[in-house]
Amino acid sequence: MAEHNKRIPMQHVVGFVLSIALTLLATWAALGSNLSTTWIISGIMILAVIQAGIQLFMFMHVVEFKSQNGHVPWNMMFHGAVLAAIIVAGSLFVMSFGFTHDHDGDDHQQHEQQEDDGQEQHDEGEHEGH
């Protein structure tokens, strides 16, 4: 990366501009647009992942191979992301049956996964009152 001899590191500037832009886009999508909730959530989560990528690749030199660290940084970040997915999605998947929102009466969403599997009557029977 001969870049580092230059006075102004373009990579950083581009990364910065992109992250500001993506943040604004996400804010607009969430607060200004009238997309459906599902779309907003998945959309802004994707934007967040892209931003994380910008930090990792443009600021953190995650693939700086001359560092003698080989694939380790990249590898650790990748597996960290996999674990993050397992922990967050796994917890939601497993714990969803514990939601006790009988006050807002919207417990069907929580059982989606199981219902998808043709388990309608049961899950509802099993967890009425949630």
Binding site: F97, G98, T100, H101, D102, H103, Q119, H122, G125, E126, H127, E128, G129, H130
Partner: protein, 328 residues
Amino acid sequence: MKSMKQFFKRGLILLPLSLVLFLSGCSQMAVFDPKGPVAQTQSDLIIYSIILMLFIVVVVFVPFGYFVYKYRDTNPNRKESDYEPHMHGNTMIEIVWTIIPFVIVVALSIPTVNTLFELEKPPESTDSATEDTEEEPLVVHATAADWKWFFSYPEEDIETVNYLHIPTDRPIEFKLSSADSMAAMWIPQLGGQKYNMAGMENTLYLQADEEGVYDGRNSNFNGEGFTKHTFEVYAESEEDYDAWVEETQNEAPELSQEEYDELLEPGLTTEAEYSSTHLEWVDHGTNDGRDYAVNRHYDLYGELMHLYSDHEAEDFMDEENEEDHESH
């Protein structure tokens, strides 16, 4: 060497030993003495898995014993060809011993998944006499509290403490919840357990095919009184059951909220029955009922009972229970 031989023997002895124990024990051990369709399914599944596991055990133990015996350095019959220090592997055989276990796992998974889904439904009638009547399951709310059990029959409007009556040949739909700590309702001879948790409700289907008295208990550790957190299940014919219901409705006192709150206090209690249920003012299985007991008795949970195994508490309970049972 002496130790070598012992080694070899132990491997061989364990096998028949386990078989003997299994065969002689099958009729007595609670899990292998099922008294209803749910426990029956589980017992069948377990026996099926034990057979496969014994196969694996043999497949490992036999070559193990043989190699350890044959290739020991001190074996007087060693041949030159018995030693190949540079053998590094064999792809063919490695594939074989990956695939066979995989196949066994598949063979275990299929019935496991099937029964899992089956257990979420009321058991299908096994008795040909009742086949066409297709009875609705009897709903019983089983609520655990430190350290007693409440069984509420909403339809019948009765409630019992630390024991319950059920009709045979009819599925029971247990609505499990807890007033405070997490418990698990387990009646080994009728089927496996599920957790009782405050603020939520689990459903457990069980059914008895044979009349009798079965031991039930909380199997999930929940503090000092855990060991005594038990109850008894009286499975009886439809008629006897109906008679019991009627008798309880007519003769048992009503359950007042004050009395219920007192019962909820952490500690042991005796058996009791009432002609109304606590569901009228609280269902611990709902979000609103989750902190009912904690709010009332917050400061009492930490108090020690100094429970010894032959403490008065137990004697007292035994006596009371005997009196009680004359009426059942």
